[in-house]
Amino acid sequence: MTELLCVALLYLASALIYATTRRRRTLQPAWASTRLSVAAARIAALACIASAFALWRTIEPGPAAFLVILTGQIVSGTLFALIAPVAPRLIACATALCLLAIPTLLSLGAVP
């Protein structure tokens, strides 16, 4: 469950970073139009990555945790970049699911 929570956090981080990327205005959600919201979203993304790293540290030592988080971020980032322009609804649904999954996993005791 801890692993799943880490993956969900990394996916959410990618979603936040992608949503606030200036190049893809056409795919940007309405809330990501102000500087404040963009900055807040990016801080939240960093917090997600840091949380995922801290969580994985409870499973494995630092270097291994770093490699896993790096890999997870690369995979979720690539999926976003490739799938979002083709199937934006699919990616939005997955993000919504992710938002539901994180509190559910937390309540189920995913944090050791």
Partner: protein, 537 residues
Amino acid sequence: MMIDRAESDRAKRSTSWKMSPRVVSRYWGTHAWAGIVTSLVIYVMFLLGSFVLFYQPLTVWEEPLKQEPARDVASWQRLADLGEPLPEQDIWIYAPQHERGLPKLGYFLPGTTAWRMWWLDDAAERVIPQREMAAAYVYDLHYLWHDVTGYWLQYGAGVMVFGFLLAIVTGVLIHLRKLVPQLHQFRIDRSRRVFWSDIHKVTGVFGLPQQLIYATTGALMALSPLLFKLSIQPVFGGDELRAVHTAGALVEEPPERDHGARVTPLTLDQLHARALAAEPRLEPEKLVLRGYKKHEGTVDFLGHVRGIAFGDGLVRVRARDGAILHVETPDRETAVGAVARWMHGLHTVEYGGLTARIMIFFLGMFGCITILSGNWVWLERRKARAASLGNTLLERLTAGVGGGAIVALGSLFLASRFIPLDWPSRPKQEELGLALVFFGCVAYALAGRSAVRTWWQLLATGSLIFAALPFAATRFSSRGLLGVGPRDEIVVGVELGFLLFAGALAAAAAVVRSARRQAVPATTPDSLVRESSAVSP
């Protein structure tokens, strides 16, 4: 010519702050040619490497013996005795892995590079020749090892990977200034060339850290036996033993040496006890007997060292008297040994468990996309020129090898479920099937009129084959998704993986087919020039 000028102008604009146009132009040429020359071989290595991530689960899926719980190894000597008569060369004995299956014994057939293994059923006192080799073939072919070709093809693979590294480095240098925007620039509403170029850059830039890690560690691992041999005289003054000690895990098989006259050695169990006394944290998983019954014979005890990251260790004892000759653990190793351990640990993903392996499988697939899309960018850029035999050949080979490797891989697993388990030539038949299907697909692509059509047909065929695997698997095991017996989580997991992969292939086939039907406007010289200003270099 217009394309080259546009490319060159763009390159000048992007990197003139650092490099002369001549240098930039050379980088472009090097990137393109290094990519084209190495792409198809590297693609096969990436594809098979992605599956090798699940080597252990695949061996459980393919061999019903490994679906049974393991018994503890009560006596290593008893296992060796079961394998008698043993030849005089190096012998490997493996404990059951992941608490499953039986112990194994293996060696190269005398005077050959042909590797053979046997299961050792000590309870029933029988030896069963290894009868299932599908996962082993995938593992070996990942670095182009084959009994027939021996090391030279493996060394060729290592050199090819250096070519791939050259393509990565030159690609980074060309795009250095605009590396970050490439992370999210995927424009599906432009021409085919922009489409492939964007896919190539997104997957290439995102996958850069992993591709660098895997290419570097892979090249060094493939070439390490050669580098070791070449270094013995100039670096170690011909002292082979010192060279072996320094290299550590970098060298799995040191060169043959004369172990002297025959003697009566200590039993393996006595030697095991000596090894554990020397390093109590070692959990032996594998024994290597080198000249065991000879005066200078040794036994290596290899396994995980408790409590250390990538912590594989080795204790070498002399067979005749149990003297400890060498202890190698992460906290005792040489600098070269530490590099080798990290290299091996990174390349074989000894971290992160199943989650990391699944994520790296995705990265492997993205790597395949980067490589093949690079070929497509090359082809789209040159389509506007007069047709050339070389480009036609490359287009068809890309489709044939790209789709054919997937179909051949699926066929190998499918054949392994249909050839009777007790048929002595079964491993050869599997191998023959793999080769025939692969080269058949390549021939089909070369003979076909449309590479795009070949692509979706091969992807769809691959999808059907992978989807059929859980059904075919019921012939030998009742523990899978569709089996009637108690479920085995590894077997079920592998079959779910096959089905998901089949779904992804079907989706890819559908996308390629619909893209072909929608008749994306062909790229013309004029459109290329127009787009060249829109495409970031």
